[in-house]
C-alpha cells in the first residue's frame, strides 16, 4: 500500500478540488466580459470597461416577464443582502432582450425595484446579437398579432465575472423552486475575496 499512498492522496485531492464552487466554473472557456449597451440610469452607452474592479452578474430578460425574471432578480437581491457591505463590490447587469418595449425610462424604473446595485442595460439589435452570440445565450421576440400573444423567450442562466472581467461562474437558474441562495452567496464571497481555485476541469479546459 505504501507506494500507492501518494497516488491515493493525489486522487483524493483531485476529487475534493473537483468543485470548490457551488455553481459551475466556466473559467478559461467563456470569453471575458465584453459588451456595449445603453445604461438605463444615465442614458449613455456603457461598456465592460465601466465595470472593471467589480464582480459582475450578467442576466438576460425583459421587464414584462411574468415570473422568471422577477424571481431571478429578487433572488439575486436576497443574495446581495446576505453579502452585506461587501455587496457594494457587485453589479448586476440586467440586459433586456425586448428593447422595443423596454425603453430607457421603463427599464430604469424596473431595475430600481430590486436595489441600487442593479443596472438596466438596453442594447440595440446588433449589440444584443453580439452579446448573445458571445455568451451562447438564446433569445427571441415574437411580436405576435393575429390572435397570437407577444412572446419573448430568453436564457435562464446568470454569468458571473470577476474583478478583471474574466468569466468565472455560471449560475444555472435562480428561478427554480429551490434556488441555492447560500451557495451563490458563498461563491460571490469567494470571488470578492479574490480566491482563484478553479477545479481540475477548468484547469483541464484551459489546456485543451
Amino acid at each position: 500500500m505504501k507506494p500507492l499512498r501518494p497516488l491515493l492522496l493525489a486522487l483524493a485531492l483531485l476529487t475534493t478540488a473537483a468543485s470548490p464552487w457551488h455553481d459551475i466554473s466556466v473559467r478559461g472557456e467563456v470569453p471575458a466580459l465584453g459588451f456595449a449597451a445603453t445604461d438605463a440610469a444615465s442614458g449613455h452607452t456603457v461598456t465592460a470597461a465601466d465595470f472593471r474592479g467589480r464582480i459582475v452578474l450578467l442576466y438576460l430578460g425583459y421587464t414584462h416577464c411574468p415570473d422568471v425574471c422577477p424571481l431571478t432578480l429578487h433572488n439575486i437581491s436576497v443574495v446581495l443582502r446576505r453579502l452585506g457591505k461587501a455587496a457594494a463590490g457587485v453589479r448586476v447587469l440586467f440586459v433586456t432582450v425586448d428593447p422595443h418595449r423596454d425603453t430607457v425610462p421603463v427599464l430604469r424604473r424596473y431595475v430600481a425595484l430590486f436595489g441600487p446595485d442593479f443596472v438596466g442595460l438596453r442594447p440595440d439589435a446588433n449589440q444584443l446579437a453580439r452579446l448573445a452570440r458571445r455568451y451562447r445565450l438564446a433569445y427571441a421576440v415574437d411580436p405576435g398579432g393575429h390572435g397570437h400573444p407577444y412572446t419573448v423567450t430568453h436564457s435562464a442562466a446568470v454569468y458571473v465575472f470577476d474583478r478583471t472581467g474574466a468569466a468565472r461562474l455560471l449560475i444555472p437558474s435562480l428561478a427554480s423552486t429551490t434556488p441555492d441562495l447560500p451557495g451563490v452567496t458563498a461563491d460571490l464571497r469567494r470571488l470578492l475575496r479574490g480566491q482563484t481555485a478553479e477545479g481540475w476541469f477548468g484547469w483541464l479546459a484551459r489546456w485543451v
Binding site: 446588433n126 452570440r133 445565450l137 438564446a138 423567450t153 476541469f201
Partner: protein, 320 residues
Amino acid sequence: MSPARRLPPAEWAVPAALAAVGAALDWATTTRPAAMPVWLPFDFSWFAWAGTVLPLWWYFRGIARMAPARRPAPWRRAVFALGMGLIWAVLQTRYLYLAEHEFFLSRIMHVVLHHLGPFLVALGLAGQPIRAAMPAPLRRLVESRQVRAALAPLMQPFVAAFLFVGLVALWLWPPVHFASMIGHRLFWVMNWSMVLDGLLFWCQVLDPRPAPPARAGYGARAAMAVGVIFPQIAIGAFIVFSRHDLYPYYNYCGRFFPDISPLYDQLVGGMVVWIPPAMMSIVALLIVLSHLRAAEDAAPRPLDPRAARMAALSARWTGR
C-alpha cells in the same frame, strides 16, 4: 520578371476575390450581426471559410488540369461540392445558432460534420485533383513522409473505427459535452475534430481502389463501415432511454424551441445518433461491395469456356 513567367490571372485573382469576400463577411458579422440573413455566417470563421473555398477552388482547378479520361465523373463533382457546402452551412450559417440551442439540432449538425458531409466529399475522389492544384509547399507538406507516417496508424482499420466511435462517445460524455458547448475553443476543437475524423474515415472506406494502393482491403473496409454501427446504436439508445436530462447546458443557455421539453429534445437527439449513422454505414457497405465487384470484373481471369457459358447464362439475372 519576363511576361512568360508572370502568374496567370486565375492564380491570384480567384484567391484574392475569395479573401475579399471573406473580409466582407467578417466585417458584416462583427458589426451588423442582427442584419445578417440566415444563409450568411452567424459567427464568421476564417478557418471555416478558407477550409471550404480553397479546397473547392483547388478541386475544380485540378480537374481542369487532369486528362479528361481520368477526371472524376460529373456526379462526383456535384456531391463533392454538396458535401463541402453542407459542412460550411452547419458550421457557419444561422443553423449554428440553432445547433447551439437545441440538443437534437446539435446532433444533426454532427451527423453532417462526421457522416454525411465527409461521406459526400469522399465520393468526390478529391485527393488527386486537390493535390494537383494546391500550392507546391502545401503539397510537399501533405505528401511528406512525416505526415504520411503520422496518418498511417490512424488509418489502421481497427484504430480508425475505434477513433470514429470514440470521438462520438467523447463529445457526448455529459461533462465534456457541457464544456465543449459553453466554451468557444473547445466547441471549435469538437466540430473540426469531427470533420477531420469523418474525412479520414470515409475517404478510406469509400476509396474505390483495391488493397494496394489502398491501405486496407475491401473486406476490412466493409467491416469498418459495419463495425461502427453497433457502438453508435448503443450510445444513441442510451440517450433515448435516459429518464433524466443528461445535457443541462441547453436549459441554462436557452432552447431554440422552448415548447419542446428537455427530455423530448434529448430523445429525438438520441434517435439522430442512433438511426442516420447506421443507415449511412449500410449505404457505405453497398458502395464497398460495388467497388469490390468492379475490381473483380477489372482483374484478368483465365477463361474457362464452360464457366464463360455459365456466366453468360447467369448474366440474365445478375446483370454482370
